[in-house]
């Protein structure tokens, strides 16, 4: 089983990120589950939000949050000051941070996990004209992990957002996927052990 935890702030589409990953995994023939944790009274813009996604080859029985994720998606670097983002992250785990700055500039100590950064907000502003970075983050995450095929992800975005919004989000996701896939072609992706 693969466990992914998403950290963001209310309004950044973190809950939707986990949902889209679950939809794409199911589309690709896996079993999956996604759900949110809206702490501190919940549904407020700007408040720290967590969302969870499990993917497995068999039906998933667990009905609890993810304490020891394999993967972390961090949509907003300001959360590093208020939330223990890395809590429980497995050894050899994978972290994707939405930032143009690399792990060292972000002050992340080299530890027993891999940290990548990707400027998803910039991609979102170019493509969607709005700072909603979740679909760009998903594109980069898919490219860097190889866990998702683009067709399943496009299906997920289209199902969740029919029409124009869906198409522009697919464009953001594809652009991020391309940039992250070959960092030489312009994406600022930094890997660090």
């Amino acid at each position: 089983m693969v466990e992914i935890r998403v950290h963001g702030r209310g309004g950044q589409g973190s809950v939707v990120t986990a949902e889209l990953l679950a939809i794409a995994a199911f589309r690709a023939g896996k079993f999956s589950q996604a759900f949110p944790y809206l702490g501190g009274g919940g549904e407020r813009r700007g408040a720290p939000v967590q969302a969870f996604c499990r993917i497995d080859n068999k039906p998933i029985q667990l009905k609890c949050q993810i304490k020891q994720p394999d993967y972390l998606i961090v949509q907003d670097v300001s959360l590093f000051d208020v939330v223990d983002i890395f809590q429980g992250l497995k050894k050899g785990g994978f972290v994707l941070v939405n930032s143009a700055n690399g792990p060292r500039e972000l002050g992340i100590q080299a530890q027993d996990f891999r940290v990548y950064n990707f400027p998803a907000t910039e991609v979102a502003l170019e493509t969607l004209k709005r700072p909603v970075m979740n679909t760009a983050m998903i594109g980069a995450f898919a490219a860097l992990t190889g866990m998702f095929d683009l067709e399943s992800l496009k299906y997920a975005v289209g199902r969740k957002f029919p029409g124009e919004i869906g198409l522009s989000n697919v464009a953001a996701m594809e652009k991020a996927f391309r940039l992250a896939k070959g960092s030489s072609s312009g994406g600022s992706v930094t890997g660090e052990a």
Binding site: V15, E19, I23, F35, Y37, G42, I60, Q61, K63
Partner: protein
């Protein structure tokens, strides 16, 4: 699964799956008032009504008291009716729920379990629905979104049965079921309607044929009226079992009848739980069984009617029952724990250990289950099982 009954197999949010199922059930009246974490169900139903896919009378009201009153009124007119609520909203419905049960009018409420205020908290526990336990309403708790879907179809049939005629409630945990995405099979409207015939009321209010519901009754008859609600709820147990079997025959899914047993046959220690935590417990049981530990689980589906005889039989061979309560009655302790102790008293069954946990969304992980099993084994060995409820991981520094 019966392939001919399947409409779709898709990953979807619990609330959307419930709304789509209510569409197939097609109540005549749906009363709506929003409250987190239930609102997505009624939003989705609003869309179905606006799109012309659902012909129900969709009535927006100004409070949960009115929402319950609207379905009460609709049921008295012989109309299948439905609403959903959570937390304080369910408490506000309480007065009407006693009235519906007392006047023997069936209507269905989806209860999306959420903690009660104060302090305000939007996460899951079972205090809201457990507080309604004495009303006469049927309560079935579910573990997964699929079980929630299937139980909604079953519960209308149970509630509307002429030998039952009681309001009924499907209790599904907030967030972890209402807001979660899981793979769900939805059933074709025709298959649902074939399983669930139209509501055929015994009485209905009619200006041409006046009758009174809930007339004043003195002490010469009131005990008998109240007893009949008690008796109808007890008799609904056989109906729940029968309908669960019919559902298995028609659709292929089965979750036990009033209880569901996992690894109980040879178990020395049997955990007893309700709702979504049963899934996490099942995952933990796999680890415990791999270690050779004889631990099992009874998931209570039907809390009302209470499965007393079924529990006595299922627990007969166990050394200890460990009851995990997601609610408690102040000064008395875990509600389920207390009821299970009462049903076992003097019957020579196992000892009972009672934990209160998972209050206001405090997470129940597989590790939580493993630790509780370890603690319980030590308590059984020491012979010092406390008679009172143990509040799991209570942080005494905050008291």
């Amino acid at each position: 699964m019966n392939p001919e009954a399947i409409k779709s197999k898709e990953i979807m949010q619990g609330s959307a799956a419930i709304a789509e199922t209510i569409k197939a059930i097609a109540p005549g009246v749906i009363a709506v008032y929003p409250i987190t974490p239930q609102t997505h169900i009624l939003e989705h139903l609003a869309r179905l009504v606006a799109d012309g896919q659902l012909k129900s009378k969709y009535i927006t009201v100004e409070s949960e008291f009115s929402a319950a009153s609207v379905i009460f009124g609709a049921a008295s007119a012989g109309v299948r009716s439905y609403t959903a609520s959570a937390s304080q909203g369910l408490l506000l419905m309480t007065e009407v729920i006693f009235n519906m049960a007392g006047t023997r009018l069936p209507a269905v409420i989806t209860a999306v379990n959420r903690s009660l205020s104060p302090p305000i908290n939007i996460q899951v526990d079972h205090q809201d629905t457990m507080t309604l336990r004495d009303s006469g309403i049927i309560q079935i708790y579910v573990e997964s979104i699929q079980e929630a879907v299937d139980t909604h179809i079953q519960i209308f049939k149970i509630a509307e049965d002429r030998e039952v005629l009681l309001p009924a409630m499907v209790c599904m945990d907030g967030w972890i079921l209402s807001h979660a995405y899981e793979p769900v099979t939805l059933w074709r409207d025709e298959a649902v309607q074939e399983f669930l015939p139209p509501f055929d009321p015994v009485f209905q209010v009619d200006p041409k044929n006046p009758l009174t519901y809930g007339a004043l009754t003195d002490d010469d008859k009131i005990t008998e009226f109240k007893y009949m609600v008690h008796d109808a709820l007890i008799r609904s147990k056989e109906k729940i079992k029968k309908v669960a079997g019919e559902f298995r025959d028609a659709f292929g899914n089965y979750y036990g009848d009033v209880i569901e047993k996992t690894y109980t046959e040879d178990a020395e220690l049997i955990l007893i739980a309700m709702g979504s935590m049963a899934g996490t417990i099942k995952a933990a049981l796999e680890k415990l069984r791999a270690q050779g530990k004889r631990v099992g689980l009874i998931k209570i589906r039907s809390f009302r009617p209470f499965p007393d005889q079924e529990l006595r039989t299922a627990l007969a061979g166990a050394k200890a029952a460990v009851v995990l309560d997601r609610s408690f009655s102040c000064s008395s302790g875990g509600i389920l724990g207390g009821e299970i102790k009462a049903c076992l008293y003097g019957q020579g069954g196992p000892q009972v250990i009672n934990y209160a946990l998972g209050i206001g969304g405090r997470e129940i992980y597989p590790e939580t289950v493993l630790e509780i099993v370890n603690q319980s084994e030590r308590l059984v060995e020491s012979g010092k099982i406390p008679p009172e409820t143990i509040f799991y991981n209570l942080n005494r520094e905050l008291l």
